[in-house]
């Protein structure tokens, strides 16, 4: 098969790294060659962050470039707009409708664009917008927003709930497991 490319984008601290590791564990279970590329260090401090997951028979480059992503999972609206050029024509974008103001917006140096979801839909991309923060908080913690988004995404993958849950168990710390599993299940019921 041709190599597939998934991008996970968001704001440093939102748990994009953990989400990419869970996806990586699911794909490994599926018998694919997998590469997951992460960002550490300064970029993690509240900045725009991106991780890449690629899988197929044989994956070479660990990075995803403009026009190459089959799927973008965005943890925040502005980040979905920022990384849109990375989506392949006909690709899918799953986004969390949470809005986190970047520093230039906070200081008044820039404006947060309005109606991002509508504008994204007009580009012809296949968009799924959900309030994953609400789901996460319903499950018991805002921190589970990453796993809630995976729940939304999981419904349209070839992998069953058991494979996803096993990967979550492998990657999420013990004490946060119940809340994360709950967030995953609540989100999975949403038709992505």
């Amino acid at each position: 098969m041709e190599t597939k490319a998934i991008m996970i984008v968001g704001v440093g601290g939102q748990g994009t790294l953990l989400a990419s590791r869970i996806i990586g564990a699911v794909l490994l279970e599926g018998g694919y060659d997998v590469k997951v590329s992460e960002v550490h260090g300064m970029s993690q401090r509240g900045g725009s962050v991106v991780t890449y997951v690629k899988y197929g028979n044989k994956v070479y480059s660990p990075v995803i470039e403009k026009g190459e992503a089959d799927l973008i999972l965005s943890f925040e609206e502005l980040e979905a707009a920022r990384w849109l050029p990375y989506l392949k024509k006909g690709g899918r974008l799953v986004l969390n409708t949470q809005r986190i103001n970047p520093m230039p917006v906070i200081t008044g140096a820039a404006e947060y664009p309005e109606e991002i979801v509508e504008k994204l839909k007009k580009t012809g991309a296949d968009i799924t917008a959900v309030d994953a923060l609400k789901i996460a908080e319903e499950a018991g913690s805002a921190k589970a927003v990453n796993v809630a988004l995976l729940g939304v995404l999981s419904g349209s993958t070839e992998f069953g709930e058991d494979v996803w849950e096993k990967a979550i168990e492998k990657c999420v710390p013990e004490k946060a497991l119940d809340i994360n599993k709950k967030a995953f299940r609540l989100a999975r019921e949403i038709k992505g």
């Binding site: 190459e68 103001n101 970047p102 917006v105 906070i106």
Partner: protein, 576 residues
Amino acid sequence: MTKLMLGNQAIARGLYEAGVKLVSSYPGTPSTEITEYASSYDKNEMYCEWAPNEKVACETAIGASVAGARSFCAMKHVGLNVAADPLYTASYTGVNGGLVIAVADDQGMHSSQNEQDSRNHAIGAKLPMIEPSDSAECKEYAKLAYELSEKFDVPVLLRLSTRVSHSQSLVEEEERANIPVRPYEKNIRKYVMMPAFAKPKHVTVEKRTLELIQYAENCPLNTVEMHDAKIGVITAGIAYQYAKEALGEKASYLKLGMVNPLPEKLIRDFAEKVEELYIIEELDPVIENHVRKLGISCIGKERFTLIGEYSQRYLKEKILGVKTECTDFGEDIPVRPPVMCAGCPHRGIFYTLKKLNCIVSGDIGCYTLGASAPLQAMDTTVCMGASVSGLHGMNKAVPQDENKRVAVIGDSTFIHSGVTGLINIAYNRSNSTVIVLDNSITGMTGHQNNPANGKDIYGDPACAVDLEALCKAVGINRVRIIDPYNMSEAEAAIKEELSTEEPSVIISRRPCALLKSVKHKPALKVDTDKCVGCKMCLKIGCPAISVTGGKCVIDHTQCVGCGICREMCKPGAITE
């Protein structure tokens, strides 16, 4: 068993399997996780530690090697500059137990102050350098490095890059080899590098390089993949992966796993088989210069940039003229630079420094973010420790501004190389004020314990450097401790120390807000009836505060209740 591992994790596995006995490192992105993962193995088999800096780490590993054990240290590219002194002479002494030093370059400067190419150090120190391109190779090369080290009596450099260190790919785990400690025999001609012994050693080093070139001609790390011969590519490391994805079987490849020294015949033979030869390497034209020196024509840096990272898209465009289509959002998107976290203890200090119009000699760490808007309270950042020594230079040369200048440096950076600058301030008497931002952790690299926080790499209790006593011991009489959450106290202290005519140290002490041991207060709220929309609270640059409909709003998912914004709020609209 097959596992998905970060490149850094795979190196740690390789060390374990190679029978390494000692790992000593200083954290530095993107190398940090090697040592963190290494410390997850049994310390009785493979002992790990965080050293105060890369020079100490490298010398510790050299000592372990001389004593007969396989040893290791890891650092980022700029860390190798700090460790260059022992490294260049360890090249002369050679090893007893195998010695490998990993150096992780940061193409694209994701988290670094420059973009230097460490291969230049390998050339300078006359050391073999090998460079893996994925996690499986990370493990394999780490193990092979020890064989090379012991076979050629030489420390081996293992070059990494952000994309290799921080990408996960599949790795097959194997058993740990039982490598006995080699006997130590006194040999001053080998280990005492005074001129009489170093001179013959230099001859040995040059001879060794010739032997290593011979090795490079046939070594299993340098591989040829012949496909279409119209395009030939000589490449190494992560650039190989980009080239392979961009060109597939439209090109033939000479992948150099050993990037110093470089082979000659292997390159000539490959060049003869292909029509057009491309040299694809990020940063400096190291392979290209070598190829040109052999009189072989090639396409290199006249086509490919010296700056930043490459990618499959970039190479497709540059070599095949193919541009991947993409859709733009169609309007300006505000940038999202990294910022100090909500509750960061550094925030209030930088606000105060800006308010007092200070000239701030800065350093390397999370607090470098104090240079960004809206705080913008930093004037210089060069390298680890430079804040303290730089301030001394400013104050000695142009003393009229000394009452406006401060240095800011984190606890870990202060231990790394700030204390030597402070000794200079005391010894050569400059009227300098140094603020040590003690957040009890090495922060930016992702929370590593350090010699000042009382815990070792395993989280076990350790001796903690008494920073106050240390500053006093080097000759600073005025040392005071403040709580950075108390902004009025901090401001008064900074004003007082700046106006005092002798060197002083202010230790601003509060643990990093992201530490698990730190208990957070509930998120603060804005009383919208009291909020007048003056936006004073925005001046501290907290990512949890923004304005909606003319009133301030606090994001409850981010706020940790530090209360700095409450001190800013004159109408008293911010409440618990």
